[in-house]
Symmetry: D2
Subunit: 144 residues, 4 copies
């Protein structure tokens, strides 16, 4: 398998939402993807924490790209469902979403992402996502 | 109960993410909240559809505010978990997330949100979210 | 489409777990299936309520058969994931799980089931399940 | 903390469903609980695999007891929600559900359970559950 970094980075660059949120792709290996996000008022909910939707967005992208990294070239990935448990307020210097594949299948892949808040050099688990990703081929406009 | 619109609108205005996404609060009644969002490249995933994270963000806010609309004044709401099924690509002229309370409890409220894509005057269901919302009182910085 | 009742009833009769739990198939129409269960110590958790697993079992079967009722003959159905919110203790004279299709697709169908507890002639919503069901064809041993 | 095994075993013995399914409590340590189940026609779905509801039942109990093992004596545990991804047919000589606490809180605890199918000496992951467990005190009939 070719190094998945270039493929995932090219797709990530097309995700307008990641740019809008200020998220960055910080690591890609086969089956594992990491995305980082700096908390800011522009992505907050009403109490000043990072909005659950923004936390979910980076977790979903990390899980989805972990899944895509194991799919054949030319195959696209769509999220069919995810569930996220939010265990602590998302705040701090940086959020890191770490996605990994739990079970890769031909059509469906189950992936998970943990989201950590980094503050004062320590990481704290703030959210846990599990998702079902679908491999899509031969549909117009659905590529990597 | 006072009209919940003013309370929810004031809280919504503090959600930086909603402004960043371009979402608007389009309806509030007791136990029901509607949020709208216009698809745009700035909130897209890699194929040009609205990113699952943005869909989840408006669905979560709609469900959370539906829950908050039934909670006593001064109580805040936090999302403890949600699950979203994405049934069709989120695209079209406008997305509408309609949140409603399924079961209101003293501590935990279960709420649901359906997200519809509007195109050519027709609505299509594209996502379904179920969430557990927690009422929070007496914690610093957690209000409406 | 032929009347789905016979098809679903035949499959239901092969679900050993339904017999073991004492569940009965009480209604089938296209896209909607109802399963009933009488609370008893044999299906309880530690406090005497019906165990979440038994509640989930009838809700999953109701949702899965609602999905199957809309699939072509000879196609089988498998649950790929479900989430259930348990909103009140499952007790009373009878539990009724009502499954319905939210979105039928060629490969994946999203279905929902509500579980009600019946006591003194009144119904109370005790659980809500959302599931992704997969249509399976041409795999050994997987039929209706 | 006292050894949690006696406490969990006593509660497990009151779960009528576990007896009915034929499940056994095979390991308890602080924050981790293991439950085993032998596949049989009495707990099957229509294709002969173990029913998703039975898989969910042992996964939910394993996760719930992992949570309870970290709660103060006299506190009871209730499942408020869980989601389960079913990744492969549940079959083989034995199923093992391994529950562990992800985040213990005063009111809510997030726990996870993995379910493995054992065949020919090898384990295969067949299901993954994430749950929110609620600590309950001072409510009639809700104890360990």
């Amino acid at each position: 398998m070719p190094d998945p970094h270039a493929r995932i980075a090219a797709s990530f660059a097309r995700q307008g939402l990641m740019t809008t949120l200020g998220a960055t792709l910080t690591s890609v290996t086969a089956g594992r993807v990491e995305i980082s996000l700096v908390p800011a008022p522009a992505i907050s909910q009403q109490h000043g924490f990072v909005h659950a939707g923004a936390v979910a967005a980076i977790a979903d992208s990390a899980a989805g790209y972990a899944a895509l990294s194991l799919m054949p070239e030319g195959t696209g990935v769509l999220t069919t469902e995810f569930k996220i448990n939010l265990m602590a307020p998302a705040a701090g210097e940086r959020l890191i979403a770490r996605g990994r594949v739990v079970k890769a299948g031909r059509t469906l892949t189950v992936a998970q992402a943990e989201v950590f808040a980094v503050a004062n050099g320590a990481e704290k688990l703030v959210a846990l996502l599990t998702a079902t990703m679908m491999a899509v081929t031969g549909r117009d406009g659905i590529g990597d």
